[in-house]
Assembly symmetry: C2
Homo-oligomer: 651 residues x 2
């Protein structure tokens, strides 16, 4: 230890006495027992840096976090909500994967949302969620909605942040995968979904050897209807792209508003085939020095689509590649080999691209690119006739950041932060000078990173999170499937400061966004009682107190049931084997802490009924017997008695 | 603030200077920027108690937690693994609910495990997990296995803690729900599962009005084969019980080894029917002053079962109620109204029962009960002829603990800790004096609670966790479905000290156990490569490097594939529409951080292949088209290129 430490501990000792002498078990958190700072540092082997980190992240009992992080869950198919600075996980939002605690995918209406995501006639019970996008107004997060994509089965979901519930899933047979999704335009007019792995458009079949002629990419512009809080597929459109592997996208803002930027890899058009005499894809796709940054005029594209200059492919109006070229919607700019992230700066003036096999980030100037486009000054064309701008004339410069640069985020003070996968570090560099000013090591291999409101026109700075892959030995072992490691970094001091290691216990997040907590206006109750969260409407089957009943109708037995602490009414249901059963259950309570669950033994029936929530569930009573039903929530001291029986008389 | 605080801050200020002056970004955690303790207390409005709590829970970057908590996930159907004292969630273990990140329920073998849990011919895709039980040796946790029940669809699962993976699910048609599950006998000879809501045994039908004659409870003793790491249903048996609602159980230990204790409610035999002129169940079941603690001689029962004095009901050998009475296996002792928890003290000498409508915990003396049993001194019999011991002669006394006592845990110093649901507090009381020595308030309504190794013959004390229902306003809002709140309490000081509030982001835990971290011997790699975790064996389909191939066999197209950074071999698969496809994929890597995922677009195929793991998956290629397949893990800088195509030629 340095001398200062010894001094510090000597001083801290007396502080310790003061601390413990004045504490009491009545205080909000802690108090009692205790030991002082110096003693605790000794007992738990904490450095002074640890003490600082502890006090910057500890969030006392009952205190709320300052920020929310919304992270994708990767192939868990969910969204993870995390509080900052405590790094406590506040909620897993079920999106593409059925989740019983939330009753998501177990009632009629939530099953309809999932069914809308069917692909090629198959139910899909998982997703590979990658890039969450918070809704924006004038380029700033507004806290109203969250969008998230499924890379594997190309789909986009809409989550309402009033109740943190998934409201819609959309998919188009046009493409077979996505990665440049989801990103929103500055006023959330459109949600962007661009393909990754080329395929014949519209689900057609063609052998991979016909790649150059038959395989294509595309970018879909999903129209968002903010008033309805839903995507409107009928007003959405797509643009055909060459068969490169389009990657992450970002929307222009301020001076570059109206344009989007998508980078790409595999302009070599390699498709693998390592048993067919071809090099493996990872080397075949890494031959060229340059790939193409796609520069797209989406506002003009919307007009072109509106003017009907499209072709219907699998129900989606598509602006064909030649039309996109002829109408001046699509331009390419060379970008150093195998780029991964493209990030538009807060001012909208620059686009930062990192080549993962390069040691630089390249900063493109929107003014220069726009000048070349307006002057129709093109260096060349790609094999499909897309005009290509000059690399040299398009860039403002490059920053030497380090090994394996992937993604870049921003603060409010003119600095950029780039993740370095191979170097396991974050580089902080000046946007003005294009010079690295500081690096901080992370544990271990970092993928994406995020800063507070870092995708907006006004980033907060303050916090950065390194989204590291493979915690390896960082946490107590939990078997071969390792957690990821989110490391919270404080940006508020003169130097970057690592504050906290957070394991991800479920899912493999790719990207995340951080928003000020006061922008989220979540509600705790569905009012009036009888609302089905998945439609957002009061259900036609909502049940009023004292209106509980069982009705036999031509389409089966309808049970109109209410739930209130501590009973279901009716609590005895008698049907005959083979009857079609329709349960309509309303939680008629309006108190914050009055959620009820509804479980029915052996029929796979499971609902979560938040205060005021109504759900319906249909099934055939094909098995005779005696089946207990009960409330799965610890809703009162007598919750075990909130039960009844579903009696199925044999035929 | 008190004067001492001002003094403390003055002192802390100098410490602060010392802190920040000696910190650097190279330190493991924290460092840089910083500000001193006093400044941070001011900036973040932290009390001295908060500082103490922060320093007792903060776990520096790379440092491992001291304890693991294994908590049930309630109706999420999972198990939650939490580190103590950091209260970071380390993993969600998929048990009864399919979970795509772990690939659980997506490959052939894990689907077989879930299929073993089918009920009445139905796939069950969720569960209501309640009571985890760590395997024990001589009454102490040994860290080898974890068992967990499903209350709704009565089932028991076995999790191996070498890889934190679910290996087995067992269920019996004998009963229709459970709650006294899972608890283990001191050497894990048996895993206990007792029913909750009575029903005709074996899935028979009888109207609820025939309750007294046709409805029954039962306790199943699942035989655990530790060598195989699996439950052996063929050596398991059950005991028939009267149609009361059996509740939580606990196994005797040391002096009471060989016996188990199950409490009960609804000895009134009320069954609801609030639309049929009956009182709602919660009042109908709360009429009597006393219910019955069930006292069962399981060692003798095992001999009786072995002797064949059983009746086969739905494939389970059942000791009928009369046989249990005749053989002296079953006794009742009155317990104050609507008891909930029964907990055997570390010495095995006492059984603590809390009546949730009472203000007492009742302490039963095993010596006294055993004396009465041996002397055949019975006060009366229940309506089914079960001998009932005298309440007064069975108890050592009662402790006045407070309102709504539910569950009790223990430390190593002779103290018991009882959760008070209505009072929202934990009462610490002396087992010797039966007197409360301290109470600590919790936020809010507490259900279960746990202490470090609190269910064993040698509790650690040190930490207690209050498992609170309904966080309400404790955390940043996430909509109407509120998280639960785990509050960590330090027991090591002279007074109980609240350290940390932890939100549960997914699931509604009921009970949990806490075990020393060094008892868990988890492995990070499956070795040799080719092991299917769900069988624990090397797969007959395991693929060796350079043995990759596609074979057309009478039963379909077999693809033998390897995964290694950064490619699948083969990476192009051609089949004809309608072909039966069998994928056999081995991750041939043996490095800690070499997990690969395997996703196939639109066919709902998703696997997680940890280092050395092999999985098989079968499906019919019923949809023609071009389907990308790729690695869902960020396995290298070139992970996007770890991809290929599944080509289905139209008929």
């Amino acid at each position: 230890m340095k001398p200062t430490t010894t001094l510090a501990i000597a001083i801290a000792a007396s502080l310790g006495v003061a601390c413990s002498s004045s504490s009491s078990p009545q205080t909000t958190s802690g108090g009692g027992g205790g030991g002082g700072v110096a003693q605790l540092m000794k007992d738990r082997n904490l450095t002074e840096a640890d003490v600082t980190a502890a006090l910057k992240t500890f969030t006392p009992s009952g205190r709320h976090d300052e920020y929310y992080i919304f992270a994708s869950g990767g192939h868990s198919g969910q969204v993870i909500v995390i509080g900052v600075p405590s790094m406590r996980i506040l909620k897993y939002i079920a999106v593409f994967t059925p989740e019983p605690w939330q009753g998501y995918g177990y009632g009629d209406e939530s099953m309809k949302i999932l069914a809308a995501g069917r692909r090629h006639g198959h139910d899909i019970t998982w997703a590979d969620t990658h890039h969450p996008a918070l809704s924006e107004t004038a380029g700033d997060y507004d806290g109203q909605y969250l969008f998230i994509n499924d890379k594997s089965n190309p789909r986009v979901a809409v989550i309402d942040l009033k109740d943190f519930t998934t409201k819609q899933i959309v998919t188009s047979p046009l493409i077979e995968s996505d990665h440049g999704a989801t990103m929103v335009t500055p006023d959330t007019d459109y949600v962007i979904e661009s393909s990754q792995y080329p395929a014949p458009l519209g689900g057609e079949y063609a052998d991979v050897k016909e790649w150059n002629d038959k395989y294509r990419g595309a970018v879909i512009f999903w129209k968002f209807d903010r008033a309805k809080g839903r995507i409107d597929p009928t007003s959405s459109f797509a643009i055909e792209l060459p068969p490169y592997m389009q990657d992450i996208a970002d929307a222009g803002k301020k001076v570059s508003d109206g344009w989007i930027f998508i980078n790409s890899l595999d302009t070599e058009r390699a498709w693998g085939g390592n048993k067919e005499g071809n090099p493996p894809l990872e080397s075949g796709a890494s031959q060229n020095d340059m790939d193409y940054l796609h520069v797209i005029n989406w506002k003009k594209a919307a007009e072109v689509a509106k003017a009907g200059k499209t072709e219907q492919i699998a129900g989606m109006p598509v602006i064909r590649l030649q039309t996109a070229i002829d109408e001046g919607l699509l331009y390419f700019v060379p970008e150093p080999k195998s780029p991964h992230g493209v990030d538009v700066t807060p001012s909208g003036e620059d686009m930062v691209v990192s080549g993962k096999l390069d040691t630089h980030t390249t900063v493109y100037s929107w003014a220069q690119m726009k000048g070349l486009i307006d002057a129709k000054e093109f260096a060349t064309k790609d094999p499909y006739g897309v005009p290509v701008l000059s690399f040299e004339k398009s860039i403002r410069g490059q920053a030497e950041v380090g090994l394996g640069p992937l993604h870049t985020q921003f603060d409010g003070d003119g600095f950029a932060y780039t993740s370095l996968f191979l170097e396991s570090a974050v580089a902080k560099w000046s946007l003005a000078k294009l010079e690295v000013v500081e690096k901080i090591p992370v544990n271990y291999n970092i993928g994406h990173l995020l800063t507070a409101e870092g995708d907006t026109v006004s980033p907060d700075g303050h916090y950065l999170v390194a989204m590291n892959k493979w915690a390896i030995d960082r946490f107590a072992p939990v078997g071969p499937l390792l957690p990821q490691n989110f490391q919270l970094v404080d940006l508020s001091g003169p130097k970057m400061q690592l504050l906290y290691d957070m394991p991800i216990p479920l899912g493999e997040p790719h990207y995340a966004q951080m928003i000020k907590a006061d922008k989220i206006k979540a509600e705790n109750i569905y009012s009036p009682a009888g609302i089905d969260p998945y439609t957002g409407e009061r259900s036609a089957n909502a049940v009023e107190p004292n209106q509980e009943r069982i009705e036999v109708k031509p389409d089966g037995v309808h049970v109109y049931m209410t739930a209130i602490r501590s009973h279901f009414t009716p609590d005895i249901i008698r049907v005959k084997q083979g009857d079609q059963v329709h349960l309509h259950i309303t939680n008629i309570e309006q108190a914050d802490d009055a959620t009820h669950g509804f479980a029915l033994d052996s029929y796979n029936v499971n609902l979560s009924l938040e205060p005021g929530e109504h759900n319906d569930v249909d099934f055939v009573a094909d098995a005779a017997g005696v089946f207990p039903m009960y409330c799965t929530e610890f809703c009162s001291a007598l919750h075990l008695e909130m039960a009844g029986y579903f009696l199925v008389e044999p035929k």
